[in-house]
């Protein structure tokens, strides 16, 4: 177990390093950083001084080491636009994105599990066929388009929900003892107005995951229904409800929840689109704005944080998976 853990950690470290090289080279070496970093009005002397000060006259590998050293100290550069540390900017917007992502994952399970269960139990009913057709659409339709349709119907035509923004937020001081913005973290899901603002974006972001959960659940139900232990449960005279919700459902829940957990990273990545559609002030909207104005330090910081997040999530999921399933648990104990 420990050997496995150490090996996974080393692997993860390598991926982070590789990604940092790619991001660094990609952002700072393609195109002329002098153009970007130094005011175009500066004269030749000023330029040279600035180049020296920024270390741009050093060889590329040396520059990378400087970048890496700073990054390790939590310094990913200052935003040209906001003139603030890039890392701080991103951390400020992280709660909004996380809130949206978790909301979406919650919705995907809440909606996807029952639908998938139904489709698995009655695979030939018209309702199940509709559900499955819907899940194909959920997979193939671009998220932003569905987001627009949601806005058109629920905000513009019906006027039920606000179309953009985060609404009223509620500040929770020192949540978990972390205070990256100096003040408390702002959460939308704690106010009614915030929830109303969150409903559509979260649903939009959840769409792909709902389809995923439906498919996984349906496949799981169909597979589990054929198991001897389900028939045995029926042979014991249990009610259909108990057979379905305890014997079948519990077996499916673990893999489905694991996969959804594994999808946290991609949910955060895809929130870029949803946040832009609904003007949700999270990290995703920040990165799009930053790319559009070429605010490179923010771009680098975002990419590095996302990569780090991804690798951490994969690591955690790998490790916790073994703890969730009693069968795997025994094997890991034995090993």
């Amino acid at each position: 177990m420990t050997v496995y853990l150490v090996r996974r950690l080393i692997q993860a470290l390598f991926v982070v390093l590789a990604m940092s090289v790619i991001v660094f080279v990609g952002v700072f070496a393609i195109g002329d950083p002098v153009e970007i970093l130094i005011s175009p009005d500066a004269d030749q002397l000023e330029r040279e001084r600035a180049v020296a000060a920024l270390g741009l006259d050093l060889p590329l590998w040396h520059q990378y080491l400087v970048f890496l050293g700073n990054a390790l100290q939590g310094d990913l550069g200052r935003s040209f636009v906001f003139n603030e540390p890039a890392l701080k900017l991103i951390l400020q917007r992280m709660p909004a994105t996380l809130e949206l992502a978790f909301g979406a994952m919650f919705i995907s399970i809440l909606v996807g599990l029952p639908l998938g269960l139904y489709a698995g139990l009655r695979p030939n009913s018209p309702a199940s066929k509709t559900i499955m057709a819907g899940s194909i659409l959920g997979f193939s339709l671009p998220t932003f388009w569905v987001g627009l349709m949601l806005i058109m119907v629920f905000a513009v035509q019906l006027g039920w929900l606000p179309s953009t923004g985060r609404g009223e937020t509620c500040s929770v001081l020192g949540f978990l003892g972390v205070q990256p913005c100096g003040a408390g973290l702002q959460w939308s899901f704690l106010t009614v107005d915030g929830l109303a603002h969150m409903a559509m974006p979260a649903l939009n972001l959840a769409l792909f995951k709902i389809s995923l959960v439906i498919r996984l659940t349906r496949a799981g139900v169909r597979e589990t229904m054929l198991m001897d232990y389900v028939k045995f449960a029926r042979a014991k005279g249990l009610s259909p409800a108990r057979v379905t919700f305890v014997h079948v459902f519990k077996n499916i829940l673990i893999p489905v929840v694991t996969v959804v957990g594994l999808e946290l990273g991609s949910t955060i990545a895809f929130s870029v689109v949803t946040e832009s559609v609904f003007a949700w002030p999270g990290m995703g909207k920040l990165i799009i704005d930053s790319i559009n104005v070429l605010d490179r330090p923010v771009i680098v910081a975002y990419l590095m944080i996302i990569v780090l997040m991804f690798i951490t999530i994969n690591l955690i999921v790998d490790l916790t998976y073994s703890m969730l399933d009693p069968r795997v648990r025994l094997e890991t104990k034995g090993a």
């Binding site: 232990y229 028939k231 045995f232 449960a233 014991k236 005279g237 108990r242 014997h247 009693p326 025994l330």
Partner: protein, 344 residues
């Protein structure tokens, strides 16, 4: 000539009623697959009396498990019980509602499955799986249900049942799991247990222990048993009566000693001939040539015809099961009566 149970030292203290616990008449269970109709159980009749053990024997795919599932109403689509009666204490199980059937399942009729590694739900603890069975049929507190589970586990020979109740199935060996499954079957002291090759997957010593325990339990509680197996030696040691199945039909039935000593049907004879035993030492083991026919679109005539050493012109027609000697039935035009008559 058959040594009765009482003679073997078991007091016949239970009241004896003449009505059998279970009587199956002309049962048909067919699977309507894309490729065609699979007649997994076709015109099967037998009965089991109170406290008696019926051995249901046959090769793989002969329809034994499907017969068991039919009795418990557990045949799933594309399968369906298409005809016949399943009279349990006089009630026809083929006609009652699913709710009524559920009341009986696990309560008055229990089943033990073939593969002990697959019958217990891997993600639920043993206590959950036992207590839910108690609570499904009895209005008792959880604590009482747990008590019952613990007692029953002890009864089937599981040491320190209190601890064991808190375990997951994967922490048990195959033999232990089958004991748990048997304990679950015994929770409500049912009138009938369908045991589907419960010991086949276990090693011989464990098999012997379990057989002995089940036999004892059946006798003390008056439970009737249908013991499905393809192992004739198990039948010889355990059953009172035996029914031999071939290709979805019963080809021979009668008292164990009669059938095993002097089989009437060539298939039964073949089965017995292929079992190694002490008094046949030195003789070559005889295999039944050929393979079980596909139950999909069986050709007309006797289903055993292509493999039967006695097959003749007459066998192109379909034999009916009939009483050939008193108390002995077989489905064959040319039964092996000579030896049997001599013995009788």
């Amino acid at each position: 000539m058959r040594a009765g149970r009482d003679a073997a030292g078991f007091p016949e203290f239970l009241p004896v009623t003449n009505a059998p616990t279970l009587e199956v008449r002309n049962l048909r269970t067919h699977f309507f697959t894309r490729a065609g109709v699979v007649k997994a159980v076709d015109d099967v009749s037998f009965s089991v009396e109170r406290g008696k053990v019926l051995g249901l024997v046959g090769e793989s795919g002969s329809g034994k498990t499907v017969t068991g599932f039919s009795i418990l109403g557990l045949v799933d689509p594309p399968g369906r019980v298409t005809g016949g009666q399943i009279l349990f204490q006089g009630r026809d199980l083929a006609k009652i509602s699913e709710e009524e059937m559920r009341d009986l399942r696990g309560n008055r009729i229990a089943m033990i499955f073939q593969d002990p590694m697959m019958t217990l739900n891997p993600v639920l603890r043993i206590d959950t799986q036992m207590i839910e069975t108690v609570l499904a049929h009895k209005k008792v507190s959880r604590e009482e249900a747990r008590q019952r589970a613990r007692d029953t586990l002890g009864m089937v020979g599981i040491p320190s049942p209190d601890e064991r109740l808190k375990s997951y199935p994967h922490q048990f060996s195959g033999g232990m799991r089958q004991r748990v499954a048997i304990a679950i079957a015994l929770l409500h002291e049912p009138e009938l247990i369908v045991a589907d090759e419960p010991t086949t997957a276990l090693d011989v010593t464990i098999q012997g222990q379990i057989l002995a325990e089940v036999q004892k339990l059946a006798q003390t509680t008056g439970t009737s048993l249908i013991w499905i197996t393809h192992d004739l030696s198990v039948v010889a040691g355990l059953a009172d009566d035996v029914a031999v199945m071939y290709a979805g039909r019963i080809v021979e039935k009668g008292a164990v000693s009669d059938v095993l000593d002097h089989p009437l049907h060539p298939y039964t004879a073949g089965l017995i001939g292929s079992v190694p035993s002490r008094n046949k030492r030195g003789e070559p083991l005889r295999q039944i040539p050929g393979m079980t026919p596909s139950l999909l679109n069986l050709p007309p005539g006797c289903a055993f015809r292509s493999r039967c050493p006695r097959a003749a012109e007459a066998c192109m027609a379909e034999p009916e099961i009939r009483e050939i000697l008193p108390g002995r039935e077989a489905r064959c035009f040319l039964p092996l009566t000579a030896a049997a008559e001599q013995a009788a």
